[in-house]
Amino acid sequence: MSRIGVITFPGTLDDVDAARAVRYAGGEPVALWHDDADLKGVDAVVVPGGFSYGDYLRAGAIAARSPVMGPVVEAGRAGMPVLGICNGFQILCEAGLLPGALVRNHGLRFVCREVGLRVEADTAWTSSFAVGQDIRVPLKSGEGRYVADAATLDALEGEGRVVFRYTEPAPNGALRDIAGISSADGRVVGLMPHPEHAIDALTGPGTDGLGLFTSVLTRLTAAA
């Protein structure tokens, strides 16, 4: 069974739901701690949401420089699948695994509601979806506005690295309505909305989010 690491930083909130999503998809979640020096031999890593280190300095800035992120960056650059959700996306950008940055929502309001996302790329974390498919998952963030310079945005679009786009004008003002992006090899993905909260109809808007986790497990099983 594939083992998926789920990192907990001080202030992380969504590690329990992320581990549950891994279990629902048929994988074995492995708890990783911010102070760990290695990844315990996991096959992939989820960097979950929350407010690591209280969002001090900038959202994700301190977590990106914590001990466990050294091996995550190294493994991610070498092709290990890594998923950053919300604060996890902010951390991956701060760590330099993904380009751009997440800044304060343009309306200054924390946005907490379901959103529609269009899946625009076939990556390690989206292969269970059809490109062009619309999914619904919750968004809950105050600093979710994706920004990058025009050249970076053009490169992301040109290389098919915009993985998720809001199906409505981005509620946080994200440039080009970008909700999630990937690394050049499509194995490191970050997104602001929360697929791990949409895996069971009892506790979320549906089960669309489970597809990210089944995608990576399918990919890992195929590679084994």
Binding site: A61, R65, A101, V103, R104, N105, H106, G107, V147
Partner: protein
């Protein structure tokens, strides 16, 4: 020991909704003539003599500021 100031501001091309909200509030104080406000961060560091300018620049550019969205100025004041 030396005191070092690092000022960090959002880049000019980055939307600064907090600064804009502050600017609008100034109008409500009855103060006219403030054309723009940008909100940033101010750091004061106490450093010993082993910390040279290159190290300060590294601290500012790789931790205190995010070069994707912010610019910064490092000043030794003492």
């Amino acid at each position: 020991m030396a005191r070092v100031i690092v000022d960090v501001l959002p880049k000019a091309e980055i939307l600064d909704p907090q600064g804009q909200a502050v600017a609008r509030a100034m109008g409500r104080l009855g103060v006219d003539g403030v054309a723009d406000v940008r909100q940033g961060k101010h750091f004061e560091l106490e450093v010993d003599d082993t910390v040279d300018d290159a190290a300060l620049e590294r601290i500012a550019g790789s931790l205190l500021a995010n070069p994707v969205i912010e610019e910064w100025v490092v000043r030794r004041v003492q």
